[in-house]
């Protein structure tokens, strides 16, 4: 049972850390990098302001008000503020804890509660449900219904919200990734590394091609790739939205599953998932049975770019003579602090014309399920990204997170740009000709 403390409007479980709150010296150096502060210019929509609001709730001077909840949800959790914070304040953990509190206190809005609940706790957390849902969606996306809805203005008006959302939802693949592969894949020659691979929840049903590309690139780099059948969704969307219970359950399951193999590394192709799996140890730190095992596993987690640079990227003679730019996924640059590796890989490709994107590390507005739940704010943030893309005028935009790919591709399509948005793995597979 959780109880309310008299001088604190938070419940006692997973309370936002007092040490982290005090660590913020409110200097304001986070303000210029915060996308939501850039929209409103209001202190409460800045990291410094949100930390102060969390502090106020923790000290009992502010209740968990609608205004508080609104600000916690307005935050993208892009963590650009963490990168800019000289004091090293772990802002993301505070907002996620605050969101967890809001959920525990049962204070979410109706829509949010049910949308998030159904999507995050039931659908993607459970492979069977996810596949059933994806199959229904696949049927819908292939059906005449979709075309009618998109063409008929009146229906369009009523379901415009739904239509916006469905345009932003990824296309479901014809064949789910994990159904196409055996559990263990061996490279052609001698295998040098044993790699665990997370097929992911959405990656598995909607981005099978990227998974395919990643595997091919790993095999090409002499890796034996193991795709454990028992694995589950990593829990990142749940954790970032403050559903710690489910996230921990999923984490434990994956810790058990992946620890069963003797792996050199677990290689990730989704920045959000990678960020969370690197934090499994942190999330399970109060669980004596799991903590060490989880920490050990977290230490093995590597982003694809980080892993390839670490072992030595294979050279290729094939040229890729295109104008290419790179967008930093927030959970790669800010959460995992990976900046150099993807750039180094792209720039090493023969013939490539690399253009550094202005504000490359500014969030695109995808932010997990943010673009679905906070559609209009997410579009304002996307506008800024698209302006920078327009002035860079690339033929290809490379990134490392499925959410960013969908969001930026949507931005390009609605502006009638022919620019391709691709995953780094896709680019690599192309240049290796595999």
């Amino acid at each position: 049972m959780t109880t309310v403390r008299p001088n604190n409007f938070f419940l006692e479980t997973d309370i936002p850390s007092n040490d982290v709150i005090t660590n913020c010296m409110h200097c304001g150096l986070c303000l210029p990098v915060c996308p939501t502060y850039a929209i409103t210019g209001r202190e409460k929509s800045s990291p410094r302001g949100r930390i102060r609001l969390i502090k106020a709730v923790a000290e009992g001077t502010l209740d968990v008000t609608d205004g508080f909840i609104e600000e916690m949800n307005f935050c993208l959790d892009c963590q650009a503020c963490e990168t800019s914070c000289p004091a090293g304040v772990k802002y993301g953990s505070l907002v996620e804890s605050a969101r967890n509190q809001i959920r525990l206190l049962n204070k979410q809005s109706f829509l949010e509660k049910y949308l998030k609940k159904i999507f995050l706790t039931t659908v993607i957390s459970n492979t069977r449900w996810l596949k059933i849902t994806a199959k229904i969606l696949r049927l819908y996306q292939n059906s005449i219904v979709e075309k009618i809805i998109q063409k008929n203005k009146i229906i369009y008006f009523f379901v415009s919200k739904l239509v916006q959302l469905q345009k932003l939802s990824p296309r479901v693949d014809k064949l789910f990734f994990d159904e196409q592969h055996p559990e263990i894949l061996k490279p052609n020659g001698v295998s040098k590394y044993r790699i665990g691979f997370l097929s992911g929840c959405l990656m598995n049903v909607a981005f099978a091609k990227i998974n395919e590309d990643t595997i091919k690139v790993l095999l090409h780099h002499d890796c034996e790739v193991i795709i454990p059948k028992e694995q589950v969704c990593c829990g990142s969307l749940q954790a970032h939205n403050g559903d710690f219970e489910i996230a921990r359950e999923l984490a434990k399951k994956n810790v058990d599953v992946f620890s069963g193999y003797d792996l050199d590394a677990i290689v990730m192709n989704s920045a959000g998932c990678g960020a969370l799996m690197k934090e499994y140890g942190e999330y399970l730190k109060d669980d004596p049975k799991y903590f060490q095992k989880a920490q050990k596993l977290s230490n093995k987690v590597k982003d694809l770019s980080e892993f390839l640079i670490g072992i030595g990227l294979k050279k290729t003679e094939r040229k890729f003579t295109k104008r290419v730019t790179y967008h930093d996924a927030c959970h790669l640059i800010h959460a995992q602090k990976i900046y150099k590796e993807p750039r180094e890989i792209i720039q090493s490709i023969p013939g490539i014309q690399y253009i550094e994107l202005n504000e490359a590390s500014w969030c695109c507005g995808s932010a997990g399920i943010y673009n679905v739940v906070n559609y209009s704010d997410s579009m304002k943030i996307l506008d800024r990204k698209m302006e920078n893309i327009l002035s860079a005028n690339p033929e290809y935009i490379v990134t490392t997170n499925p959410g960013c790919i969908t969001q930026i591709a949507y931005g390009c399509k609605t502006r009638n740009l022919g620019t391709q948005v691709i995953h780094l793995a896709t680019l690599l597979r192309e240049i290796y000709g595999i």
Partner: protein, 460 residues
Amino acid sequence: MIKSSVLKQLSSIVENKNFYTSQEDKITYSYDGTPLLEHLPDAIIRPTNKEQISHIVKLANKEHFSIVPRGAGTGLSGGSIPVENCIVLDMSQWNKILEIDTENLTAWVEPGVITSQLHQEVEKIGLFYPPDPGSMNICTIGGNVAENSGGLRGLKYGVTKNYVMGLEVVLPNGEIIICGGKNVKDVAGYNLKDFFIGSEGTLGIFTRILLKLIPKPQTSKTMLAYFNTQSDAGKTVSAIIAQKIIPATVEFLDKTTIRCVEDFAKLGLPTDIESLLLLEVDGHPVVVEEEAAKVVECCKRNNAIEIKIAGTEEEAMRLKTARRSAFSALARTKPTTILEDITVPRSSVAVMLEKIQVISKKYDIQIGTFGHAGDGNLHPTCLTDERNYEEIGRAEKAYEEIFVEAIKLGGTITGEHGTGLAKKKFLHLVSGYTAIETMRTIKRALDPNNILNPGKVFDL
């Protein structure tokens, strides 16, 4: 508390979307960058033109509430922290550069323009606006003028006041004046403009600011010198100046600060040295070469253990950016960082550094020191935890002693952060009571009802 009928009148002056009274807004406008101080305002207002400001000020005189102007809230002396019975006047949205005059080398800006944005804009056309506070990526020109802020380039180029040519000000009675202008020379009447510079929001609200620009230096060279003691670094500073060289930048970092900055910025700084100087000379390429060589020579003569020269402009930028993070990076060691801003004549930097070390031991508090050593401006920063009252008490005693020592050396209690709330009880130490009384006389004459940022700098 401001009466609700008055709040209603206030809200009718601006558009709905520019007037806030929610608890969440009040809480998030209750602080600035100053540790340990906060106060809730009754409302936050964002005027969009000077007539609205004038209107608000007149209402304040009539209804007796106070107005606290605010830029970005990065101030370090509590200048924009609300007071009893007040509204916060948020100027951060006044962010347009109105004119860059390349014939007269001036710029008219709104007060909410962010300092580094002005840098970028003028540098695009080969011009230069030197003042560059550590907070330049977010602080506003209005805040800079109100605090007369300095920066890394202060030694050679001076501080904000050296670049203000004119001001448009809403006075505490609601009247609007323009003082100064594009004339290089102008001695008509009192020099009112200088009067408002550094007035910390107590004498008027700036609505437009005319700044002087200079040609951008052709080239620059940035260096790091490492030392085994703090006083060797201090002596180097005096030695360089005695050589009749004025570098653009001479910044000092002690061991604690170096460690924190390295932890954040990962530049590969050695963490076992006692101190370092970050130096930059700029100007004509030939002069830069010559001066850089002399600076290196001075460092060597004063026992520098190693001297590094930044190879590229990017590297130089990284070093300076890291230096700008020093204050906030110190919070890595302990959560609460109480920073001071004493300034001594440049020849006394080495002595002052030694005194700080002695005082730190005496009161058993951890102090990290960094600062604009070339200006004699040091930021001894006490690393503590606001939850440890006993230690905070000791820190306050230590600071009093540091102030007294600085003044004995002919120094001052604040070089660039202002008096605000944080230093007002020490103001008499450096100015004396008669000078404070003179300031009060001026304040009373301009603001008889004491509505503009009352209780800042001194109490009436």
